[in-house]
């Protein structure tokens, strides 16, 4: 609780600091606040507790996801001073909005009540609609903001509809009550099925599952890169955590399993196949994040509910997957910004050309992080995908798994093609300018990806 309050207050403090002090002090203060929040979470690590009359439940899963999101946010904020150096004047608002959004993510990781699900969902989303339009004079940024807002509102409406239907069955927002209702014999029917389906639609929108993914490429491309990074990492983690908490309490009845299988297959297919042809790096990352959502959905698909005792393995896998994915994505977007500056604002995949000659270490970092996203051994991405494989096989989703394997193959292709660019001779004349702080963050991300790949026991 104290951590939630701390971060909310931190956001407000950021806003005031925006008025009274220079922007250089914003990031350090925000990061200190985040570190304090991490410390608060870490001290309460092994003590599951309920808050707000049982509406929030801080168990191991919620705590690890919360810490994960805080760490990634801190890494993104470390990138902040450099990113906002020449960009914007409304810097404080950006930090504050990201902090507010983060609070939504924390709620999503810990809710045990549908009302809190909705609250977390909205608190996560609304700041993002603003952040996506952060570049006020850019057409694409405005498009991203509007598109995200309109589609997001639809998704919210769907989710509300679902929550209402579920409420009509149990007379309570409590997830435990819902689980009891579903466990009772003869508990199926149109209302329940549609209720579950609509809530899943809302959640699927947030993680960008097909066919609710259309916002992703445009929003990723249009938003300022720092915000894109935030969306691709923290928002993804929050969305997946929220998805898991819902699925884990309802279990996987046949009606839900049917729609989930379709979602999974479509997401894997569309995400990977579309990513093959992308030449814009941000769009590539958007489609690839859709494909990663597919793998995460596949892991979710194997969750058959609390009573099976399987959920903690799924939760652990999801945390490992999203956290290492976020580490790699953060590092890559920072490298992307560096390369973009060196190429006069171009965003195509070719901007990484010449990186190997100019800065071999960063080229190796790029390679390691791309290989991690692709799932090549010795990186965390491989362990993450392997865990999903194990889950799917142990619960008997063999054919869906086989399809996933094929799609992973496509994934390797498009990531490797980007990695290749870095080792080609430079075309442009621009130099890669790397600030010391960025170098540190990229290195941290790379080391994280490799270390968690070599010693996955640290996170599992």
């Amino acid at each position: 609780m104290s951590a939630l309050i701390l971060i909310s207050v931190l956001g407000v403090v950021m806003l005031y600091m925006g008025i009274f002090s220079r922007k250089q002090v914003l990031a350090p203060v925000a990061i200190l606040g985040l570190l304090a929040a991490i410390a608060l979470f870490a001290t309460g690590w092994h003590i599951p507790h309920h808050l707000l009359g049982g509406m929030l439940e801080f168990d191991g899963f919620a705590t690890s996801f919360s810490i994960g999101m805080l760490v990634i946010t801190a890494l993104i904020f470390l990138f902040g001073p450099d990113y906002y150096e020449r960009k914007e004047w409304h810097v404080a608002e950006q930090y504050a909005l990201m902090l507010f959004s983060l609070v939504g993510g924390l709620l999503l990781a810990s809710y045990s009540n549908l009302l809190m699900l909705f609250l977390g969902y909205e608190v996560l989303s609304i700041p993002l609609y603003v952040l996506a339009g952060g570049k006020k004079r850019s057409l694409r940024s405005n498009e991203a903001s509007l598109k995200y807002f309109i589609l997001g509102s639809f998704a919210t409406a769907f989710m509300l509809m679902g929550i209402t239907l579920l409420y009509s069955l149990t007379g309570s927002f409590d997830l435990g009550k819902l689980a009891e209702h579903m466990a009772a014999p003869g508990a199926s029917g149109m209302v329940l099925n549609f209720g579950l389906f609509f809530v899943v639609v809302g959640l699927a929108f947030k993680v960008g599952a097909v066919p609710f993914h259309f916002w992703k490429p445009d929003v990723y491309q249009g938003s300022p890169t720092l915000v894109t990074t935030f969306m691709a990492t923290v928002v993804m983690m929050g969305g997946i955590a929220g998805f898991f908490r819902f699925i884990d309490s309802t279990g996987m009845p046949d009606s839900l399993a049917r729609s989930m299988v379709l979602l999974t297959l479509a997401t894997l297919l569309v995400g990977n196949v579309s990513a093959l042809r992308q030449t814009n790096f941000k769009r590539l990352m958007a489609y690839s994040s859709v494909s990663h959502s597919g793998f995460l959905l596949l892991a979710l698909l194997t969750d058959s509910g609390l009573h099976e005792g399987h959920g903690s393995a799924v939760g652990g896998t999801l945390f490992y997957y999203t956290f290492t994915y976020s580490l790699a994505t953060t590092g890559l977007f920072i490298l992307f910004t560096i390369a973009k500056r060196a190429n006069a604002g171009a965003e195509h995949n070719g901007i990484f050309k010449g990186l190997w000659q100019a800065n071999p270490w960063l080229a190796l970092c790029l390679l390691a992080m791309l290989l991690s996203l692709a799932g090549i051994p010795l990186t965390a991405g491989f362990i993450a995908k392997y865990q999903v494989f194990l889950l799917a096989i142990s619960t008997g989703w063999l054919k869906v798994m086989g399809f996933g394997v094929l799609m992973a193959l496509l994934g390797i292709y498009y990531y490797i093609m980007v990695a290749r660019e870095a080792f080609l001779p430079a075309e442009g004349s621009g130099a890669f300018v790397v600030s010391r702080l960025n170098w540190v963050v990229i290195t941290l991300c790379t080391i994280g990806v490799l270390a968690f790949g070599l010693w996955p026991g640290w996170l599992v």
Partner: protein, 482 residues
């Protein structure tokens, strides 16, 4: 510790090259020294081999999924280690006369590849095997993509996707098999071998495993990446691919298929032998029609590997022993042949037979060296290929006389296309061009290789002593077939 050194020496040397980026000569010297060190280690292991499998290192990694870091070897693994260690100095040495580019980077990639290959042949845990299996691909991928020939991009990508597809199918099988072991799960080969899966499962599991190895070798009909890739790759890359990486497929068959899915292997045995032999004949015929020297050698490699795969599936000591023995002979032969291809390319500027011919009087010493190697390629007695071919032929004969006949036809076809290649390169009316004969450096490469050819040819037991015991063990451990 010794096994760990095999992994770490090339890794350290490669990293040193990347960090220091020394001049070309220093880079090659350092790489060569590193490979000679590992050669000394494996030769010592080979000398000390007493027929007992060794597990040297065993650490838990992620116990929950059966991942353990276990290094060890039996005779078959040791054979592969020796093969890798013997050939790599020659692969590095090729770079002296036939450099491809940034020497520090190329040699670092080659050394990383060597480390991964050592890992593949030492891993005693299926997941560890898979990890090295995939890692060995990455340096080669970059080598090809950066320094390949015509259409390098499209060809490399096809090669990469093909092998990765097999790899992912293998990973899927490993995950499946691991989950079938009693809890706590273990992916150690010993635990997987103790599995007794039902026949219906083994039937499909066989293919998801075999796919990876069939693509890697490659055998028909999973071969379509191979001729293009071998032709396009720089000589050093082709050498590694054909002489050593192809052997990962052979090794995989012995380590995965026989112990884990014996019933599936028995079920598909005839079919696999049939497609292997068909592919071998098909490749031999195509090899004969080639106008490009390198492509001819590529097809000949595929033809030889097809025969080896067929022999491995015969399920008797002759066939398996012969097939394994031949991995060594074939590896040495491929390095020789691709070196010669590179040597000619350096002189006439292409690989086309049209640009060669009538050179025997201009390069007499080279003609002699080439003749000796061709003798090995067509399995003349006293060369190393002869005992292998004889064993494989015996193994096929025990199973089915028609298959043995196909083996004989293969040997004849092999003689035809290799002699034909020799003729197109050197014989014919004298061509009046200024062309240098094989020089000192090239003798320095080819003479030791030819020495190995005859040494092993006269004393095949040097190699056979490694595989005899494990093959017997393998055959005994397999449950009686239904």
């Amino acid at each position: 510790m010794v096994l760990l050194a095999l992994l770490l020496i090339p890794l350290a040397a490669g990293s040193l090259l990347l960090a220091m980026r020394p001049a070309a000569a220093t880079a090659r010297g350092l790489a060569l020294t590193s490979t000679l060190f590992t050669l000394a280690i494996t030769l010592w292991l080979w000398y000390a081999w007493d027929g007992v499998a060794v597990t040297a290192l065993s650490h838990d990694w992620v116990p929950a999924w059966g991942m353990r870091f276990v290094l060890g070897y039996n005779g078959i693994g040791l054979l592969m280690l020796v093969l890798t260690a013997v050939l790599f100095p020659f692969v590095i040495g090729t770079g002296y006369k036939q450099p491809v580019g940034d020497a520090a980077l190329v040699n670092a990639l080659l050394l990383y590849c060597q480390a991964a290959l050592f890992g593949v042949f030492m891993a005693q845990n299926a997941i560890l095997f898979y990890i090295f299996f995939e890692l060995s691909l990455i340096p080669i991928f970059f080598l090809l993509l950066r320094w390949g020939g015509m259409h390098k991009r499209a060809i490399t990508i096809r090669f990469f996707l093909y092998t990765l597809m097999g790899g992912l199918a293998l990973l899927f099988s490993i995950a499946y098999a691991t989950l079938q072991t009693p809890a706590p799960h273990s992916a150690d080969f010993s635990a997987l071998a103790a599995l007794q899966l039902p026949l219906a499962t083994q039937q499909w599991l066989f293919w998801t495993m075999f796919l990876a190895f069939a693509i890697k070798m490659p055998i028909f009909p999973f071969h379509s990446w191979q001729p293009e890739t071998y032709t396009m790759a720089p000589t050093q890359g082709t050498m590694v691919l054909s002489a050593i990486m192809g052997k990962m497929g052979i090794y995989g068959i012995v380590v995965f298929l026989y112990p884990i899915v014996p019933l599936g292997t028995a079920y598909w045995q005839d079919f696999v032998i049939a497609i292997s032999l068909f592919g071998a004949l098909y490749a031999a015929v195509i090899a004969f029609r080639q106008e490009n020297f390198k492509r001819l050698v590529a097809y000949s490699s595929m033809s030889h590997l097809g025969l080896m795969a067929a022999a491995l599936f015969t399920w008797n000591a002759y066939g398996i022993g012969g097939g394994l023995y031949q991995t060594f002979a074939h590896g040495v032969l491929m390095v020789c042949l691709f070196y010669i291809v590179g040597l000619m390319e350096l002189r006439v500027g292409s690989n086309n037979f049209a640009d060669m011919g009538g050179l025997k009087t201009r390069m007499p010493r080279f003609a002699l060296l080439f003749m000796l190697i061709v003798g090995n390629a067509i399995s003349m007695p006293l060369t190393q290929s002869f005992p292998g071919e004889w064993l494989m032929f015996n193994g096929l004969w025990q199973l089915n006389h028609w298959m043995a006949l196909a083996g004989v036809v293969l040997i004849i076809l092999g003689a035809i296309y290799m002699l034909f290649a020799f003729q197109r390169v050197l014989l014919g009316p004298d061509r009046d061009v200024a062309i240098a004969d094989a020089d000192g450096e090239e003798h320095f490469m080819l003479v030791p290789l030819i020495a190995i050819i005859f040494l092993v040819g006269v004393f095949p037991n040097l190699v056979l002593k490694l595989v005899d015991a494990p093959v017997q063990l393998l055959l005994n451990s397999i449950p009686p077939l239904p």
